[in-house]
Structure formats: structure tokens, C-alpha cells
């Protein structure tokens, strides 16, 4: 089984993050850049599939030079190799453009399963898995909290706010996962050492047959018009107990979907 895991380098969600005032993009220069947390769950799921069914696991990343640091970290968990799409013209690419580039790269690799995190901690759009599946003309199994494989049949439990749905599809397919699906492994020292020697193929837009006009700032169909700091928290709602305070509390919790 050929598995590709999409890995995105994002600014650390634990630290303070900012948008640049000039072009409204994420300021990545000041941030500590890490693997998108949800992608680690996708890597773990890929490695478990490989352990159970054999095959190979490839990391696919689109990003600037410094993303190679995240690729190496991903490889230290155990995948066999990586493909890094690196091109100066990619700066400013939106989700649609990203899906165009990644779809082109995936067509080259031709995997049975594409695994990815259900969302990234920076943009949080949750649209990429769908776009990719659409471009590739394959099924999208999104938001999985469980994945099982029988032959060429993939079955996921799709997490919803109320519970879960069982969705199946034949390979090839795109599967996006939530952090409820597994517990990602910590890389071992041997894995860290081995990651240095694993093959990382670097591809440009020309290699993929994608023209520079279709991506980057020129190709972007969406953009951030303006941004402002998050407003300070407003005061919470006070419940005065005049006999039915408990009921009000339960109503609040239910409405907010806490219970």
C-alpha cells in the first residue's frame, strides 16, 4: 500500500502569532515553526497502516526552504521518504492554489491513500482534503476518528458534533483525521539519526507542470482584505439562582454543546 501524508509547517500554536501588516499573511519569520499538530496524527495513522499492511509512507510538503526542518522531523517518526514542493513563485498561494500543486504532486506519486490532518492550526479552513479529492477525482473521507482497511476498502468513523457516521470508499482516497484517532509516537533517537539519510525529493512548479500564474499572489482567488487583533473577552453570563439556576446552567451547557 502506497501512502502519502500531507505535512504542513505552521507557526507554533502555543506561541503568540501575528499577521503581517503589509500583506495580511501569517508572519512566519518571528514564529517558531512546527509540524501542524493534526498532521502528526495522520503520520501515526499512516505508520500503523504500514505496520499492518506493508507498503511505503511518503511525506508531501509544500513550503519554503525552512519547511525542510519539519520534513526531517516528520521522517524521524518513521516514514520512508519525502517530497518537498519548493518554488519561490508559491509565496502567497491560497487553498485553491495549494490544492492544485499538491494534486499535481500526488498524481506523480500515485498513492492508494492520502492521509492528512483535518485542519491546520494556522488557517483552519478544513477545505484542502475536499479540494484535493475533487481535483484528483477520488473519494474524500474527512474528519476521521477511526480508520480501518480491508483490501481496497477504506472505512472511517467520521466525527460529528453529535456522534459519528460510518463512511466507506474504495482506494484511492483522501482521508483527513482528527486528534481523536490515535496517539502519535515520539521519534526515537535511531529515528532521528535515520531521518538524516532518508530521501527527500525536491520538486519545482516546472517539474509538476503547474504554471506560476496559477499559484502565488497572481493565482490566488481568495485573500485577506484586512485584519485586526482579537477583541478582549467580554464578560461572561451571570446566572442568578432564584430556584431554577440549575436548569439555566444545563440549558447554557446544552446550547453551547458542552454536554
Amino acid at each position: 500500500m502506497k501512502i502519502v501524508v500531507l505535512v504542513k509547517q505552521v507557526p507554533d500554536s502555543g506561541a503568540e502569532r501575528n499577521l503581517r501588516p503589509d500583506d495580511n499573511t501569517v508572519d512566519r519569520s518571528s514564529a517558531n515553526n512546527v509540524i501542524n499538530e493534526m498532521d502528526e496524527y495522520a503520520i501515526e495513522e499512516a505508520l500503523r497502516l504500514q505496520e499492518a499492511h506493508g507498503g511505503e509512507v511518503t511525506i508531501l510538503t509544500m513550503g519554503p526552504e525552512r519547511a525542510s526542518e519539519s520534513i526531517r522531523k516528520a521522517l524521524s517518526m518513521g516514514p520512508d521518504g519525502a517530497v518537498h514542493v519548493l518554488d519561490n513563485a508559491l509565496s502567497g498561494t491560497d487553498a485553491l492554489g495549494t490544492s492544485r500543486v499538491l494534486a499535481a504532486a500526488l498524481q506523480r506519486i500515485n498513492p492508494d491513500v492520502v492521509l492528512c490532518g483535518a485542519e491546520s492550526t494556522d488557517a483552519g479552513g478544513q477545505v484542502l482534503p475536499h479540494m484535493l479529492a475533487e481535483r484528483l477525482g477520488i473519494a474524500a473521507l474527512t474528519g476521521a476518528r477511526k480508520l480501518t482497511v480491508e483490501g481496497s476498502q477504506l472505512t472511517i468513523e467520521r466525527q460529528t458534533e453529535e456522534g459519528y457516521e460510518v463512511v466507506t470508499a474504495a482506494t484511492p482516497a483522501v482521508v483527513s483525521v482528527w486528534d481523536t484517532i490515535n496517539e502519535p509516537r515520539y521519534p526515537s533517537f535511531k529515528g532521528i539519526m535515520a531521518a538524516k539519510k532518508k530521501p527527500v525529493e525536491t520538486l519545482s512548479l516546472a517539474d509538476l507542470g503547474v504554471s506560476a500564474e496559477q499559484v502565488g499572489w497572481t493565482g490566488a482567488l481568495t485573500g485577506v482584505a484586512s485584519h485586526s487583533k482579537r477583541p478582549p473577552r467580554s464578560a461572561g453570563q451571570k446566572v442568578a439562582d432564584s430556584g431554577e439556576g440549575g436548569v439555566q446552567l444545563v440549558e447554557f451547557l446544552t446550547n453551547e454543546k458542552f454536554v
Binding site: 522531523k73 509516537r185 515520539y186 521519534p187 526515537s188 533517537f189 535511531k190 529515528g191 532521528i192 539519526m193
Partner: protein, 381 residues
Amino acid sequence: MTDFGLSKEHSELRETVRRFAVDRVAPVIADFYDRHEFPYQLVKQMGAMGLFGLPFPSELGGMDGDYLALCVALEELARVDSSVAITLEAAISLGAMPIFRFGTDEQRKRWLPSLIAGENLAAFGLTEATSGSDAGRIRTTARMDESAGEWVINGGKVFITNSGTSITSLVTVTALTGPDEISAIIVPSGTPGFTVAPGYSKVGWCASDTHELTFDNCRVPAENLLGERGRGFAQFLSILDEGRIAIAALATGLAQGCVDESVRYAQQREAFGAPIGSYQSIQFMIADMESRAHTARLAWRDAAARLVAGEEFKRQAAIAKLHASTVAVDNARDATQIHGGYGFMNEYPVARMWRDSKILEIGEGTSEIQRLIIARDLGMK
């Protein structure tokens, strides 16, 4: 030239262990500590991460790392909790390393793979009730029963780490095999005549496993001799030499953990209308703590670099152990002081660090023994 900076790979290991300690150990360790319970679930995860195999070759299931890698991992674990750190330190330095270093191929193949995987633990029985620093004065005997081809062991050992867990596979004991002749012998767990007493009630390291052991006509096969007969004393001295660097790294971790906790607390705790961290008395105390932790780290990194380079490191290891353990006790005392009454409450990590610090000046060679080693290395006999 000795480089105090870590390689990229060692730095990444450090980050990984840090993440494990903060995400996995910190949230659960206080409960284990309170109940004086061994954290099997954490040891299992540490095994899966390959921590027990850090300095061993991959032919035996190890990580192809070095002693520096082990020390880096120990420092980061102890920065959060010393019980899991000493469990790893003793399992490798005292448990698996003597077998790796002195064992026959057969002994290595039989015992090491599961130790290196962290599925089993091994212990080292040296200290006795009446012989600690004076480790040559042991009384435990091992008599060769030629007709049966067995060692018959009689005596007892005290304060033996990792000796009584449900995954402990063996204890290597030092015993008199003749007049003035000390040898090391492997005693598998469960051997008749080998009794493990219930765990001690300890001041610190409460989530680590420590027992008194007794041997009453305990018989093991002749081939369980580890290394050469009569070389037991020299063997454990060389094991303790490198173990000192590991303990120094562990002590540095505790000292750094005290800084972490104190900085955090000083910024949020207010007194007289301002965070206590805005007062110079607290700032200076924490600055001193950080300086001490830093120099302790330099000391063990120097000793480890010498060891890895195959250079003499005996004196530097003793200096590192002496200095880092002193620093750990000093930092734990100051961190508790900064926390005030809360620092005296067991639920606060600094209280645990305070309780865990004292043993560092005692275990694996007291501070007095370290001074003796340093002085002798300077030519004073």
C-alpha cells in the same frame, strides 16, 4: 576540542524527551508519587520511545546513540520528575550496562534485548547494610558448589533500585567468592532463596522502585558469573565512573526544573501589590539558581564529551557529580523558599524536587567519595 553544544540530533532528542516529560509525565506523576507506586505505564512509553536503548548498538535493539544521548534524556526527564529519571538511569547504567560491558555473548543475547526494549529492568546489588562508600567490605558470599556446578549465594543488599518491579528480570550482585576476592553474579528474579523485601518508605524518589534483598542459600548456575572471577570490584568501579555523569545530568535537570517552576510562580504570585518576581530579592535568587544549573550542565557535558571521545574522564565525572548534586540541593531549597508555604505542600512540584534532591548527594557515590576521587586524582594519597 570539546564542544559543549549539542549536535542537531542530540538537540532533537532533547526536545522530544522534553515534550514527553511535559505532556506525559507531568500530568500523572504526582499521583504515583503520593501512592509510592511504580509508573509502569510511563516506563512502557519510555521503552517504546527507545530511551532504554539509547547507548546500545542496534544489533541488540538499541538506538546506536552514545552516553551523551542518555545524559541529555536524563536531564530533560529530571527537569520534570526524578523518579522516572532514576528508573531509566539505574536501568541502563547499573542494570544493562554491566552485562553489555562484561557479559559473554550468550549473556548479552539472553538478557539485553528485553532490557534495551524497556520490557524488563535489571538491577545492580552492591550496597549492603554495613558497607556503602566502603564497598569493598561486603559480606555477601558466593560459594562454588563444584558438584552441582552452582554458585550458592548468602547475604543481603540494601537500597537496590529497580530490583522488585513486576518486570525486573535480574539482579547482578557483588559477592565474596574467596578471601579478598569479589565477583559479580547474575541472579534472575524468582530464583529460590532470593527474597525481595517490600519497598522502602523513602523521603524522595517515591515513584521509583527500591528494595532490600536477601539471599539464603540462593543457587544459580556457574555460568551466571559476570565478567572474570575476582574482577567484580574493578568492574563496578568502572561502571560507577560513568554513572556519575548520568547522575550529574539528572541533578542538573532537577536544578533546572526548580528554575522553571520558580520563574513561573514568581511571575504570577503577588505580594505587597506586585508579582514577587518584580522584587530584586527573588530575581537575584532565581538568577543564582539559573547560574548554578548552567555551570552544573557545563560540568557534566565536559565529562560526557571526554567519555565519548575516549579520553580520561574520572576526575571530571566526580567534579560534575559533586557540583551538580550540590546545585540540585541548593536550587531545591531556594525554589521551596520562593514558593513559601505552597513549597512545603506535596502537591507542588518544587516540594517533590526538594524531597528528591538530597539523595543526589548520597547515591552512586557520596559527595565525600567524589572529593576523595578528585583529591586522589590530583596525586594526594
